[in-house]
Symmetry: C2
Subunit: 310 residues, 2 copies
């Protein structure tokens, strides 16, 4: 298949390499010029579990300069860059192109469906993770899985082919009947850990070590669950809380600083409006009070303003 | 008069020096040994508005070692050290000793009245400020005023003498009929600026510069006002908000980092339980929801736990 990565950062580059290795025609589109140049000049260097797997020739370019048309496009931007990315790649989307969106947070489908019908959008969640070791270098650990759902279900046989393609590449993809539930469960976890770790200035294990962390967890998760139910999603508090507890372990993700923390540390704008900010916004729409998410959103924005985040 | 300073840090040492200069017999009681030793060995060095006014011989000792009995005792500890200080100096309090409490936060009178009747307690607020330039060195700027009220009013002529004594020392003291209102107004300001500046990691002017700082201000002040009213105190939102706006100015206190921020930076336990924590506790007592103050209190405690504050 012809597959475009609209955003070829840590996750996009890792997935793109995997799909390229299993015989697909992969193109990377990214706005980070040094990264694009490094991939074109030296090939994409792949390090997995600290093992250097070599450099791989994969075509890279800027989003506006992409040519041709694609069967599948993975969007892998920050949530707030998604709209601009959709505009930049609109010229390579045809009526059968599938857009795969595995981004964190709420509201991404609403952005994509401004440009293409929902039958072309596959929303998903993934537990894959990845990192970059500089321009042109993927430095990743572990493996993962993907859960996907077509936003307007069709019987097109392409859907099964696409899943096969993903799985031949080792992505561990499955179709889901309620991916929104999974998205909201991940949102619940991120609304807690991303936000609190950034404001308290700690890693995940340190947050879990605070004796009353459950009080802080409850404030946010209760709002996520109430707003999720108002949106018609079967959000389960127990599932979110269990997921949060599972990552406290310092031998697992506990020593990790969440992505929002890292963005703030690098003085970048954060995805808070797609996490706690989205809960506050949707809460308002449904007349549900969300003081915790609203307060947290404003404190994060204030912090962005103080560090001059861009 | 014989005046004890139970706690002779920045504020206590400055006031003690002023009262000593105007002819009173002043004793400092403090648990910081280096500070006490420096005062006894070199005298208390006074720097005001960057001008070195010399060194002054004033007796200093530890609280438990204080001897004699005192007409007036200023308590100048951190709120969480007040109870222990009262126990340590109980042996020098006689039935006519007046205790002056100008500490920030709520709940201090409740601590003092465990040991002496309310007629001996004068609660106050002050706009004086001060600093220490190391052990035995007061490094202060500006001047101030004090507002005081006897917690159980008596007609004892000593009260007028005491006020005269304070004013001969230049303290600018006045008696108030509703000092609780002033205390709560100052609490409102501190619940906003101390807490948010610590969590957002900014000074007062930077907080004020955040475009939606009013949203954050409102969350906290609305809770302070509601709980204050339930406690029977005539707390006025406009007054608190005006006080907050007045200190945003970078040419005034704007570039200052609030005391709670400074305690956290020095890995000391903070006074949060006497500010937002007290609002949350009193809110619970009256059945008033205080999510903002409760959330903030827990985030500050989590931060204390992360930095290992003592």
């Amino acid at each position: 298949m012809k597959i475009l990565f609209a955003g070829a950062g840590a996750m996009g580059a890792r997935f793109g390499w995997m799909l390229s290795q299993s015989g697909n025609e992969v193109v990377f589109a990214d706005n980070w010029k040094e990264h694009v140049d490094a991939i074109n000049e030296q090939g994409l260097k792949i390090i997995v579990d600290k093992k250097d797997l070599g450099n791989y020739k994969i075509k890279a370019t800027s989003p506006k300069a992409v040519e041709g048309s694609f069967d599948v496009i993975f969007v892998f931007t920050k949530a707030m860059q998604l709209d601009q990315m959709m505009q930049d790649i609109l010229h390579v989307i045809h009526p059968k192109t599938r857009i795969i969106c595995l981004l964190n947070g709420l509201g991404n489908v609403e952005v994509i469906e401004k440009y293409i019908p929902k039958s072309q959008i596959f929303l998903g969640v993934t537990v894959w993770s990845s990192g970059l070791g500089g321009p042109g270098v993927v430095d990743a650990t572990g493996s993962g899985a993907i859960e996907l759902q077509q936003m307007d279900k069709t019987d097109d046989p392409f859907n099964a082919d696409m899943l096969d393609t993903f799985n031949r590449a080792g992505l561990g993809a499955v179709y889901s009947d309620d991916v929104l539930q999974s998205v909201w469960h991940k949102v619940g976890l991120n609304c807690v850990l991303n936000s609190y770790c950034t404001l308290i200035d700690c890693n995940i294990a340190q947050f879990g070590d605070y004796k009353d962390s459950e009080v802080l967890v409850d404030y946010v998760v209760d709002e996520v669950v109430a707003v999720g139910h108002a949106e018609g999603v079967n959000v389960l508090k127990d599932v979110i809380v269990s997921k949060i507890h599972a990552v406290y372990d310092p031998t697992k993700a506990g020593l990790h600083y969440p992505s929002l923390y890292q963005d703030m540390a690098k003085h970048r704008l954060t995805e808070i409006d797609y996490l706690n900010g989205a809960i506050a916004r949707l809460g308002k729409k449904h007349g549900i009070s969300t003081p915790a998410c609203d307060l947290i959103t404003h404190m994060i924005h204030a912090k962005e303003s103080v560090v001059g985040a861009k």
